[in-house]
Point group: C3
Chain length 375, copies 3
Amino acid sequence: MATTAAEKPSGFTIARLLNALLVFVPVAMLMEWVLHSPPIWIFVVSCVAVIPLAGMMGHATEEIAERVGEGLGGLLNATFGNAAELIIAVAALRAGLFDLVKASITGSIIGNILLVFGLSAVVGGARFRTQRFNATAASLGSTLLVLSVVGLLVPAVFHFLVGDTAAAQERTLSLEISIVLMATYVASLFFTLRTHRHLYMGDAGETAPGGAHPPAPVKRAVAMLVLATIGVALMAEFLVGAAEATAATLGWNEVFVGVIVVAIIGNAAEHSTAILMAAKNKMDAAINIAVGSSIQIALFVAPLLVFLSYWIAPAPMDLIFTPMEVLAVSACAGIMAFCANDGETHWMEGIQLLAVYVILGIAFYFLPASAVVGH
Amino acid sequence: MATTAAEKPSGFTIARLLNALLVFVPVAMLMEWVLHSPPIWIFVVSCVAVIPLAGMMGHATEEIAERVGEGLGGLLNATFGNAAELIIAVAALRAGLFDLVKASITGSIIGNILLVFGLSAVVGGARFRTQRFNATAASLGSTLLVLSVVGLLVPAVFHFLVGDTAAAQERTLSLEISIVLMATYVASLFFTLRTHRHLYMGDAGETAPGGAHPPAPVKRAVAMLVLATIGVALMAEFLVGAAEATAATLGWNEVFVGVIVVAIIGNAAEHSTAILMAAKNKMDAAINIAVGSSIQIALFVAPLLVFLSYWIAPAPMDLIFTPMEVLAVSACAGIMAFCANDGETHWMEGIQLLAVYVILGIAFYFLPASAVVGH
Amino acid sequence: MATTAAEKPSGFTIARLLNALLVFVPVAMLMEWVLHSPPIWIFVVSCVAVIPLAGMMGHATEEIAERVGEGLGGLLNATFGNAAELIIAVAALRAGLFDLVKASITGSIIGNILLVFGLSAVVGGARFRTQRFNATAASLGSTLLVLSVVGLLVPAVFHFLVGDTAAAQERTLSLEISIVLMATYVASLFFTLRTHRHLYMGDAGETAPGGAHPPAPVKRAVAMLVLATIGVALMAEFLVGAAEATAATLGWNEVFVGVIVVAIIGNAAEHSTAILMAAKNKMDAAINIAVGSSIQIALFVAPLLVFLSYWIAPAPMDLIFTPMEVLAVSACAGIMAFCANDGETHWMEGIQLLAVYVILGIAFYFLPASAVVGH
């Protein structure tokens, strides 16, 4: 790691800062198991502890991904950034907190696009007047996002039309739509990793700058990945266990906690990676991380959670999102599609994405709990 | 025809297969007039019988269209592919089955885009890594589609706001919007056939490969067209007469029958033509057939049916589509606009269109009849 | 002005015609203060009187803007075209006619895009087969428009979910969203006037054709601007005072008056300027006027009116638009985004925009007052 740090000082500083946060992992354990602290403190501390752990997962993945080209590396990064999220969602699923699960799905989708890519475009745009990326790859990503939106819209409109009388049908509908989404995801992997891999190879040549760089120690990276995963799983248990009480204490609704707080925590790894890439003018990597991560949440994590709910949750989970969540994801997909289309970004595009994020955040904050829950 | 067949063997095989299905035409007559078979059998047999007849209409048109260039030929093909649909819709209109009429309009629009163009992109994409088409023409098409969506959204939102108290106003609103849509259609014909004809000439040179090819016997084609039209009209009567009883027997709702079943039957001709074109890497023709056909349904067939309802239906028909139909058409227009924009397709774009089709099909299948009917 | 007139005869004729309409300014004063005429006459006459005054404001601005390049000039033109609108909205705000204020905001946004740019594309397209413009600048504009739509959608969906029980929260939500919109507007000015100014310089060279043209008398232009502003403010008072009674007399609802009538009056200046530019094949200027004006209404005028309502209105105004208004603005932003994307227009694109305008106009006309008002 020392060699890497010497090469990218800013990445190094961030890594150091993140590592310092690891102290919160034992603190959280102490507060939960020994001190039985108030839920709000356990929530805050375990939230903070997730950040370096998710960062470790991301860093380990980055080392593994280093040799496979920028585009594919971005995809891999997104995958393990979402591992933290999947673990948190599974913990909430086991506790039967379906609204929190769905809210964290919504929050991840919009957070990755609006916050992560928005900040990337601003940070990158502050240094470069115009940043270009592969419009074909980005367009495929945003079309997949629109497809996801249709997959989430249909059950919501169905629920709106049918009312509370058809819960069994809604579960079947959700299950079948989940299968379609998952199948599309598998097809998209085949596309990105096989038949059209060249679109995602990006600026691979720049990433691995010559033979002077020794191959990263893959074994060590895998060990780090395993350890970090266990840590995230533990923190996720604490975090989810304390979420409801925390929301009640602060007067926040559960959806706001899921959409904004949990999603930001879970995506901290992508944040730092994507922004670093943007600052180096590697917008292909930044956009792959942001859009790829959102797509993976929508087409892989969401259906996977529906499947898992039949095994590990108190009851099967459906895919019915609340109207405000559907609006958020739709707005996000629409605005991303327009941004991705022309193959270039400026700082102003980033500002726009952030503005939409803030507007949606305000709306989720003010929504009373009764109106938030769809059913 | 023998010469043509020798040139395109795959087209020939499909034509043969379709011709074999013509045997169901007399079978349907027998079942309806002599045997008085159960409605479900009459429905199935007359559905199957429509396919070769619609194919004949398409084939006859193709021969006539052969000399006018790929783009214009595609437009002509789409016109007569929709003739079958128009005939079925008129039969349903006369029977006062307005929900079935509207469902078949919805189904044609989404079927042409999602199913026909989706399959075309997959079949073409299996042979060619990237397929290109004229983005200007395709963009115009998808913008017209968005316009159609606005035309269908406005009455639905109006109905949602006003409730059941303003049926007379809604009919006037629908009539006036129909006039606007029809006028736009006429303007678009003037654009495609007159002022910007060059955009639609496509790969005309490739279609007519040299002077060795003798001019097609136009008279014979016209006779075939007339005969096939009469056949379709007859089958449409049988099909519509049996639709309600069939839906009841199978536990399907009327809208599912219209959106999925009737629309697939009516578009069988476009299916085979568009897919053949895509397999030959003539994506301009394939996209013209799919998008052109959808536009014609939305801007020409739908308003025409509203006008006709004042003459041949038990009561005037309005343009109020159900929320799920509006969602389906909106999703379809949105996703098409993004696909059309960059002027190229891959097989994955086709998979995405098909996935959206399947998701919508599942939703229409599960919707209970009471929720399907808008009013 | 004589020199200018000699150079652009058509502009000169329109200016003369507009100047003749100035006679309605004293007529309106006479009717309001001396004759106490029926409201409908005062409304009509003061509407007509606004047109030349708004034209004067536009003309004065044009002279000031002449040296700063086409793109920036278009922005300045749009600013003072909206000054007329802002003045009318302020008059309605002081009278507490919030529905009229919001309707005129909606009407300005859709009027500028659909009517002004639609007519520009038709008029320009009648002379030039294909007209090109800077797609980057236009895309930024349409993305900002999509952002505005999200800003307007969120309070409407919030209101739909929460009902009438949370008026205080809705006002806070509206105020905070207004702040975000205004901040985004300031950022966009920084983008267009500072960091990415070159994108908006357009065909500046053509606008100022050589040194033979003497610098315009700026003092005179400023004086004209001040006078015209006072005139518009006066006419706005008359117009707003008579609006309700006029709507009642004609059987129109207040929203139709705001969306269609007031918006057309207030935008008359942009109309003539944008269409003149389009006729000269300066589509960059035309699109800047139309899109820039819509954006300014949504991101600057609308939040400004919310802020002002805390000072000058009987009660604070929220940002909750009616569902039909939200649909109108969404449709408008969506269709504009697709049109702007490819960097070229044809007359048919103009026809489509006009068709959407007519469809929306029909819907607003038929909506009964009870359904129009959102709360």
